[in-house]
Symmetry: D2
């Protein structure tokens, strides 16, 4: 369904695959500092950190899938069906609607430490954006340059997990996803040891056999294992080109190809993959049918303005013909 990723070389990069069988006309959207953020149960934020990310804009409001603020804090929402459980309004709590959660975090905080402190009082309240945009069952990965957390509002309440992987996919709940990793601890980037028996001969007939056991299907638990293995073992140069190349390669390891997951008469695919240099505020993306990287630099916009700026996605292959 989706894969979120935080990755650091010289700079810090944050992004995700959005895997769906349809698209909501999403755009790369820059919100300047003086865009008026209304909240259903809280006072509006009339000034806040600027942010850039992927959003569907509805009635002038940016419904963010993922984004990064000018301080480098980043956040993405990923599908969490069957587990996400939003609550009635609670007195004495900070009541935030799920669709307000990204602006509420990115508008105000600089670090994970600040976010964690604020989450103590958070109540994700079951208010939908509109009839057309009912509540999505989501959980979130939030990252700064040094750490990531996962936030899940489930039946038993709000759960905040340290996320040492910097990876999030979908179900099951993060405690089970983490537990499952124990079953993969033996996987290696090196050739397998011949532990089976000293009396038998074995042939390392292929490179890469040290990771036999790593799953390759597109279910969310398998994508989690695959993406975590790829991310934790990633090797990259520190230049911008090398870093974003490696970032999109990691996302590619968990990408969904059309035809592999059937949903009725449609197929789930990786609609877009994004990678934001959170130090520089440059948001890069590719789409299923445009593998060239397109970029939007939030600092090229007037960040003290009031109005959002939205860049429609460039789709269709942009081929560089040599002759």
């Amino acid at each position: 369904m989706c894969t979120g990723l935080s990755f650091t070389t010289h700079d810090h990069y944050f992004g995700r695959n959005l895997d769906l069988e349809f698209s909501y006309n999403e755009t790369v959207t820059v919100i300047p500092r003086n865009f008026q953020f209304e909240f259903r149960k809280l006072a509006p934020l009339s000034t806040h950190f600027a942010m850039v990310g992927m959003a569907t804009i509805s009635d002038g409001y940016p419904l963010y899938y993922d984004g990064t603020n000018e301080k480098g804090l980043s956040m993405a929402g990923l599908n969490f069906p069957g587990n996400a459980d939003y609550k009635p309004e609670a007195h004495g709590k900070t009541n935030v609607a799920p669709f307000e959660f990204v602006p509420w975090v990115l508008g105000q905080f600089e670090t994970i430490a600040e976010v964690k402190a604020a989450l103590v009082d958070l109540n994700l309240v079951d208010i939908q954006f509109s009839e057309n945009f009912p509540l999505s069952p989501l959980h979130w990965i939030i990252s700064d340059k040094t750490q990531s957390i996962t936030v899940e509002s489930v039946k038993s309440g709000l759960r905040v997990y340290d996320n040492p992987y910097g990876v999030l996919t979908n179900n099951p709940t993060f405690d089970i996803q983490s537990f499952n990793m124990n079953n993969y601890m033996h996987l290696s980037i090196d050739p397998p040891e011949k532990n089976f028996s000293r009396e038998l001969e074995f042939d390392t007939y292929s490179r890469g056999m040290g990771a036999i056991g790593l799953p390759g299907d597109l279910s969310s638990a398998s994508r989690f294992a695959k993406a975590v293995f790829t991310k934790m073992n990633s090797v990259s140069g520190e230049s911008e080109s090398e870093s974003i190349s490696q970032f999109f390669q990691i996302l590619g390891s968990a990408a969904q190809q059309r035809g592999c997951v059937r949903i009725g008469d449609k197929f789930e695919i990786t609609i877009y993959s994004s990678c934001c240099n959170t130090d520089k505020g440059i948001y890069y993306y590719t789409t299923y049918e445009n593998s060239q990287i397109t970029g939007v630099d939030m600092r090229q916009e007037d960040l003290d303005a009031n109005d959002l700026v939205a860049y429609p996605l460039v789709k269709g292959q942009q081929i560089n013909m040599m002759n």
Copy 2:
């Protein structure tokens, strides 16, 4: 190590991932019809079909990794260490050196039927190109628009297999690769059936669970299973943009990310991915660090010329900045 692929929508597409820990300065090389092809043990081909493909050029000779001729016949060589066994020269046989095999096939034949007939007498002879380019242990996938074959020269002789998958990776031998697919027959693009027990309840907690059991490591047997599953279930529109997007997505499902397979102090990566529209003779490729598709159209060249034309690869991300 490598993944070869044949795929048909409206047109036919053929290409591969080259997975290595180093690069040989490969170029997209067009060989016109009157380029003089010398052979070590056969008469030269002074006129032949034109071809385009990826090659390292050494002493003016194109060492092809993969290529397509003007009739749409395509061929790629993939690593086959420990199994490839080239033979001494044999009288009464067509003695072709492994590095001559691609030009010998693409220069003369239009269809798999023709190739199969010619292979009856083939002897892949253990002659190296030069001291600097010793024999690579290879096997090959050869495809026309309707079918593919795999050719392996092993200890017991030359083996020619029908390849109904249109996919080739590396070890083990193709008969074992094919046999292994039986172990995956239950994998599905649809949600799993609840066969385990009628008395228990199960939760299809994620999309994509029908393919649980598909491997995700980068060994050649696992990449074969993953690429075959993705290819056989692929769904694509018929336009050029849709088709080549899907082709590169399939190759992406078996791509190698830097860090996942360590070779000494280096890492095996997908150096380039190629996709040739074999009907139009347009050769597309991406590189590990340039996700934009670059194209070379063989028909833009003078195909009646004598001299090869080589396009160095465009490397480094070509980013399309929006602001």
Copy 3:
């Protein structure tokens, strides 16, 4: 480490494998109704249901591994290291030491419904039996003829789970063990469906391929999956011989062979396997080195007596020579 099992044909059968690298001199022990059960924090039970089971007797006290009472209620404790968390004494709670838990349950209750009601106030208190028998980290399966539950005292408190499998092994916690079963829902006792592709041919080269994906290692999560699959699909006649044969066969599917799991310089093995006909009160067992079934019939004892009766285990193969 261990596998517990509840199974019903005409009668109900309950038992377990005890998997360890050492043995505590366990005996088949019958406790008559008037054996005085002392409790550390509760009033003694001077009269109670009679019970039979496997126990190590220390200072005249039966430390039960598993047992069944005269009403057919059964219970077994299985290793739960790292997860079991016993609590300080709590006022207003029923404070039972872990080693008292089996007698406390089997001494007083007839059905799972009664047990569940009593568990509401239970506190498993961190009192060890003696210096020589410190606290074992355990969780329990409790079964009557129609249902089973699993009881776990973990950091967050006492957890009581319905156990529709009638199987218990060891770690992880039962919620995760249950969740994992979703990943096996496609496994089948019938040949696999050919879902992979309609265009390819597959060979069902062996019987039993419908369950490919079922794990066979001896870790507790894998034994759970294997034992649940075998149990849920078991087919048995209703006679005593057929029923206990099938029961020991199911336990055999999760048994541990010497050499497969090394613990320092020892090896974990299935020390004994037990099967109690809970309707008749006959306790059967085999040992690693005695595959003949030995039986103890609790109703052959004076169940109104005060003193326990203990039968040492018959070990060493009892071979029936024909000539």
Copy 4:
């Protein structure tokens, strides 16, 4: 379907599981030295080595499933459907019908070296025993105290493989079974190494996790892996009781429980498990419903007699009641 096993402690032991959904009224059969063995295409053996094994007797002829001769040479035939290919009679060859193969080998040879020499001229000829006993598709494991071989008559001819595992199951062909073991080389009896990442923490939450990846379904390729892992890592004392206990435990690791493999309206089960002490000529067995070991000592019979001696199987649990 079946699992054959050769295992040495102080003495050498050879046996097998017979897995089927029906039974042929098999008996433990001793053939003395002067029993007249007729052959369809060869001269009769009127005197030969005595042997003991499991056989169905038809018209006075022992159709052996497995057996051992007085010199300690052993042999078992296992199902090999789809691969076994018997040949027309061939001049200049030793033409042996498949049902004659066990007597032909055990009657004449003492060692694997002798068998290998004789196999050079062997032709397994497509002659059935009778209308009621048509040809079974089989392959064989033959063992002496120091080595084992596997013999397969397939389309391309007779194949004789060294079998360093001392294990045989069924399909696929032995070369592929052996190749598959490479995919398990990392499995270990020790806890898994934490190769995945040095930056993450992992919990070895269970003993036995070093062998995660070992299959547990009952297909012949999975039983082969499971039985080989268990056999190669087996640890046993050298006494007769310890040795045969360990032998039956190894066979138990690949046993088939009723209900796990459905064949029409029947279920494949382990009909019997056998273990012959080949040094002493004692044949032990258990059946699905009789876990006590029954024994037949060939040296208790008159081995210079002419007539076979057959012991019907003891079925039904032989329970040793303590009270």
